[in-house]
């Protein structure tokens, strides 16, 4: 029963493709799951945008299937944006960024045969599947799905504000999804700590693994917080307890709705970094890979990510500046939020320094990585308005906030995920995504996306509140409707661009050009094995002799500008004195 060794290859269909314990199969399952939900959540975004630009007009083509008369009703609109947020964060980006690439890349990049707890890995996916099913079912219940926003603030999310089982099911779904993420996190942390190949020291880990490691720590520590908050919410809704129902309510009670806001954001702010840290990790690697230059300041980059991980726990109050925080608390959170921007600045600095004087190969993963710098730069810098209390008071809960968080946690994470898909496609499926359509996809995504969210900055600055069913109802906002129209048109174009990706992905997956073992010419361990990866990952557990970014090292023999991590750099000792724990034999009789 050794966890290090590989379980024998299954032969039955179910064990091979459905209830597989193989990290590669599970990674692909997470990937398809994430794609499916991104499509659903994206379609919801299109419906939201359509309603905002042309309120009261039927949603084209699909409207009749979902809405009476094809027109979104106010209740359905609230359900749409609630579930859009929940789906995109918990069922779209998390499975794709962390589930798919975490599972696929961690064992391959650290030189292991599988995750340390393969069965837990399988359970994690199927728990997520149950969570997704509950979330989906919540849309179909008689009184409609959750209508309290993805933040689910009480008392709107208690029975005071929303009747029916939709909201309860939403809370249960979030809890189940949280459990799944915790399982994944336990697995990732333990795997990275215990299963690194001989010679794979902490400073030789690819930055991808570092990003996933920090994300897992946040997952493990902060998902239970939202889990507990959801337990209390479900108790309030189902058993009539009053954790979140205050004393002055008509029904009476003894709780505090603000408590939920604290709990939610103690989780919610780290969640932003849960989504962005893997993307940072990926692009830190990709920028180095495709600049053919070592990642600038590897240790500083890791330190900055660690600092973000720690600081992310103590800045959450900036979501609550208008809630009624005491001035002292408010100012503390403002200062801490300003401080968390420093590691972000350092990352930018290192990325820009990495590509400086490189030898840039402008492949699609590289384009998307640079796209992250662009959109995260835009989103991160506009965060200064929102971290500053005196400007946030006006901008809070307007479209300015929507633009900001979409650029930081949605667009950046999505671009990171796309970069990952284009980059690891050869290793995952053995085929190459078409580069031409990849570039078309990038430009037709990046340009409309920038227009969508920058227009939101504009309308939010002009005073347009978010979560409004119909801005033209309000006289004050009627003269801003043209901005909504621009946003919607760009959003529709953005949605259409994803069809290009879907087409490219499906075509390349089954009919694409076969990939060579190392098409990108990079040295991390996953490229030392065949494409697609064989069941056992590595013929023998590799021994690591150098870091992941030894590009253009003048000592590399033979005129190449890269070496595998398993190669020995001339002039360096074969193995350092301190090496990974796997030196101990995997099996003792």
């Amino acid at each position: 029963m050794s966890h290090d060794g590989i379980h024998p290859e299954p032969t039955s269909f179910w064990r091979k493709h459905v209830f597989s314990v193989d990290h590669k199969v599970i990674g692909k399952q997470f990937m398809w799951f994430g794609f499916a939900w991104l499509a659903i959540g994206g379609m919801m975004a299109m419906m939201i945008r359509w309603q905002l630009a042309y309120p009261g007009t039927p949603f084209p083509v699909l409207g009749d299937f979902f809405f009476p008369g094809g027109v979104v009703s106010p209740e359905q609109y609230n359900t749409l944006f609630t579930m859009h947020g929940t789906i995109m964060i918990f069922l779209g980006l998390t499975p794709l960024l962390i589930g798919a690439f975490g599972n696929f890349c961690i064992p391959l990049m650290i030189g292991a045969r599988d995750m340390i707890f393969p069965l837990l890995n399988c359970l994690s996916f199927w728990t997520l599947m149950i969570g997704g099913a509950v979330a989906f079912y919540s849309l179909t219940v008689p009184l409609g799905g959750s209508e309290a926003g993805w933040t689910g603030y009480p008392t709107l999310s208690t029975t005071v504000g929303t009747q029916g089982s939709g909201e309860t099911l939403w809370a249960i779904a979030v809890f189940i999804i949280g459990v799944s993420s915790i399982m994944g996190g336990i697995n990732y942390i333990t795997t990275i700590v215990r299963l690194r190949a001989p010679g794979m020291t902490w400073t030789r880990l690819p930055l991808t693994v570092w990003g996933l490691f920090f994300t897992s720590i946040l997952n493990v520590l902060f998902l239970p917080v939202i889990g507990s908050a959801m337990i209390l919410l479900v108790l309030d809704r189902v058993f009539g307890t009053t954790f979140y129902v205050p004393a002055t309510m008509a029904e009476g009670g003894a709780g505090d709705p603000i408590l939920y806001q604290h709990l939610f954001w103690i989780f919610g702010h780290p969640e932003v970094y849960i989504l962005i840290l893997p993307a940072w990790g990926y692009i830190s690697d990709f920028l180095s890979f495709f600049s053919r230059k070592p990642a600038f300041g590897y240790r500083i980059t890791v330190g900055a990510m660690a600092a973000v991980t720690i600081l992310s726990a103590v800045v959450y109050g900036h979501h609550m500046f208008t809630t009624g925080l005491s001035p002292m608390l408010g100012e503390s959170f403002m200062l801490l939020t300003m401080i968390i921007s420093v590691p972000g600045e350092i990352l930018f600095f290192n990325w820009l320094h990495t590509i400086w004087r490189g030898s840039l190969r402008m492949t699609t993963p590289m384009l998307f990585s640079m796209g992250v710098i662009f959109v995260f730069g835009l989103g991160g810098l506009t965060g200064i308005y929102l971290a500053t209390i005196s400007t946030d008071i006006y901008l809070h809960d307007t479209y300015f906030v929507v633009g900001h968080f979409h650029l930081t946690m949605a667009a950046s994470a999505l671009f990171g995920a796309f970069a990952g898909v284009y980059f690891w496609m050869p290793k995952m499926f053995g085929t190459v995504l078409n580069e031409f359509w990849g570039k078309v996809h990038f430009w037709f995504t990046a340009v409309p996306l920038t227009i969508v969210f920058c227009t939101m900055f504009w309308s939010g600055y002009a005073g347009m509140p978010r979560r409004y069913y119909d801005h033209t109802y309000v006289e004050y906002l009627r003269d801003l409707q043209h901005l909504n129209v621009i946003t919607t048109h760009a959003a529709l174009l953005l949605g259409a661009a994803q069809v290009v990706f879907a087409f490219n992905f499906i075509k390349s997956r089954w009919f694409g050009q076969k990939a060579t073992d190392n098409p990108w010419e990079v040295g991390t361990l996953e490229w030392t094995t065949a494409s697609p990866t064989p069941y056992f990952n590595f013929q023998e557990i590799p021994v690591v002799h150098c870091g992941p970014h030894e590009f253009s090292n003048p000592n590399i023999p033979g005129g190449a500008d890269w070496i595998f991590q398993t190669d020995v750099l001339p002039g360096e000792p074969a193995l350092p004195a301190t090496h990974a724990p796997a030196a101990e034999p995997a099996h003792s009789a």
């Binding site: 106010p74 209508e147 504000g161 100012e331 300003m338 006289e475 409707q481």
Partner: protein, 320 residues
């Protein structure tokens, strides 16, 4: 790798052509928007028939609803409160700071893209960036950026908060000078309660209004906000004012109108399906007109006071 569509790829590689593509994209997105409230242009009709149908509908609605032309707006109106200009100034200040920073990032991003493209027999500069000098450089840059970008903004924000948003009139003299209002949010309306002529809450002459608040010009307005059911947020864009109304707790806030006229009050916190309909009006009257109005309103309030209507007696002790 680069076998498929290499011809088209070469075209895309040329940066000039790429900008033409970007320009075309922008044109496609922006062109229909410019005609959203006017007549839809024929090119747009040809380009996106689905959009065009909706646009025509929207036009018909617009014609029926209101004949007055809508002047497009791209920003907030001039601030109408004493601290409103602080927001505007700091917003513009941050905008300048981050525009410069972002431009810098873009320049540093695009120089390598243009200059450092892979060429045969060209190797990248080998540098791990791990030397002491590099670390020192990184530290200096990040500290500089923090001071310029964050600390400066922090400093101005602290001043604004001390002198603006958090400078709530609290002392008895200050409160006597201020105009006190209790705000009770509910699904989906704003209840306002002012003291009336006697200066005390919970009496017969309290001026209680729904969805309409009248306040004096050039006097601080101190608001105590709470909610009956779910969380609401009182949002007065022209006053640069926003504060949540929570059930079970009372929030304090203030603003001082320096312009008279009617202003919009919105709800900024999701409060159910009619969230968007919580539109109310704030009327700011010059001091003499306001005194007249207050006297009249108090008399009417006393006349209409019903002791048995407990629902209407929701006043709480004003916090100060």
């Amino acid at each position: 790798m680069h076998t498929t569509g290499s011809l088209v790829l070469n075209v895309l590689r040329s940066s000039r052509l790429r900008w033409i593509v970007v320009g075309l994209l922008a044109a496609v997105v922006l062109a229909p928007a410019s005609s959203a409230h006017a007549s839809a242009s024929s090119t747009h009709l040809a380009a996106a028939p689905v959009l065009a149908v909706a646009l025509q509908d929207a036009d018909v609605d617009a014609d029926q609803a209101d004949a007055a032309p809508i002047v497009k707006r791209y920003g907030p109106f001039e601030p109408a409160s004493s601290y409103g200009h602080r927001f505007d100034w700091l917003f513009n200040f941050i905008t300048i700071l981050i525009s410069v920073s972002f431009l810098l990032v873009l320049i540093l991003l695009f120089i390598p893209v243009v200059r450092d493209r892979a060429k045969p027999n060209k190797k990248a500069h080998f540098d791990h960036g791990s030397s002491l000098a590099d670390k020192r450089f990184t530290t200096i840059v990040s500290v500089t950026v923090f001071i310029v970008l964050d600390a400066l903004v922090l400093y101005f924000a602290m001043i604004d908060l001390r002198e603006g948003y958090w400078n709530i009139p609290r002392g008895e003299d200050e409160l006597a000078e201020a105009y006190q209002v209790e705000v009770l949010g509910q699904q989906w309306a704003w209840n306002f309660r002012a003291t009336g002529a006697d200066g005390e809450f919970g009496t017969a002459d309290d001026i209680v209004t729904i969805n309409h608040l009248t306040v004096p010009q050039n006097r601080p307005v101190v608001l105590n906000l709470a909610s009956k059911d779910v969380i609401h947020s009182l949002y007065i864009p022209d006053m640069r004012f926003k504060r949540d109304a929570n059930p079970g707790a009372v929030n304090e806030a203030w603003f001082e109108p320096i312009k008279s006229g009617d202003f919009a009050i919105l709800c900024a916190e999701l409060c159910g399906y009619a969230h968007y309909q919580m539109e109310s009006t704030l009327t700011v009257l010059p001091a003499d007109l306001f005194d007249e109005w207050e006297a009249d309103a108090s008399i009417m309030a006393t006349a209409g006071y019903d002791e048995d209507d407990t629902e209407a007696q929701w006043a709480w002790d004003f916090r100060n």
